[in-house]
Amino acid sequence: MSTHKLNIKLLKMNITIKYFGQLTDITQLEEETLEFGGTYVYELLETLYRKYNTLKTKDFQVAQNQELVNENTKITGQEIALLPPFAGG
């Protein structure tokens, strides 16, 4: 049972991350695929903050499979989007 858990923990998945609006000024790209070995949204964010230092200073929400989630949500989907404040209309 414990080895089974260990295997799951080591299993990395590929996640597509989409960036929008002002966040693309920082990332210089709109989409990328990352290999992610963690469990929660905050772990993914830590990975991204290491990659893009100034991302941490920006205001944004996270969507998983097109639904807004919080930092403690488990990552289950393969598409994560970082959404800065909306400006429709």
């Binding site: 929008f20 609006g21 002002q22 000024d25 969507a63 097109q66 989007a81 800065p84 429709g88 209309g89």
Partner: protein
């Protein structure tokens, strides 16, 4: 007689023209149970920000999620209000100052309903739909618009 169609994209490339808006009004002449229409038009404002003038807004969106949100707004508006039909169009890409970027059109047998419904829908769009606007200044620098 409710005009509930399956989910469709509300996005249009570029500005929404007055011809398109006029034509939408014309198309409703056959729907004679309607007694009142109400229309909201969002127009790009040439804001003066620290001496620089906004000349256009370049709209982008998380399109799949945005269309889903538009769909939810539509469903909940039909649930809350006695609407005969409802149409939403939002621009993507560049819309110049003075041009129309959002067109919301609601219709009902009675007028009171359309006043309330239109405000509800427009406020929901501003709050819930992942659309982003890059304000382009006349000198080609930019800043990102945030809804207030």
């Amino acid at each position: 007689m409710k005009d509930k169609k399956p989910m469709k994209s509300v996005f249009k490339e570029g500005a929404i023209t007055s011809e398109f808006i006029g034509n939408s009004i014309y198309k409703h002449q056959t729907k004679t149970s309607i007694g009142a229409h109400n229309i909201f038009l969002g127009q790009v404002r040439a804001d003066d920000i620290d001496g620089k003038i906004v000349s256009a807004i370049e709209y982008t969106a998380y399109e799949d999620m945005a269309n889903q949100k538009f769909h939810e707004i539509r469903e909940s508006a039909f649930e809350k209000f006695d609407l005969t039909c409802m149409h939403i169009y939002h621009s993507l890409g560049t819309v110049k100052a003075g041009e129309i970027c959002l067109f919301v059109f609601v219709s009902s047998p009675r007028r009171k309903v359309v006043f309330e419904a239109l405000e509800y829908i427009v406020e929901a769009i501003k709050a819930d739909v992942p659309v982003f606007g890059k304000e382009i200044f006349e000198d080609e620098s930019h800043q990102w618009k945030v809804n207030s």
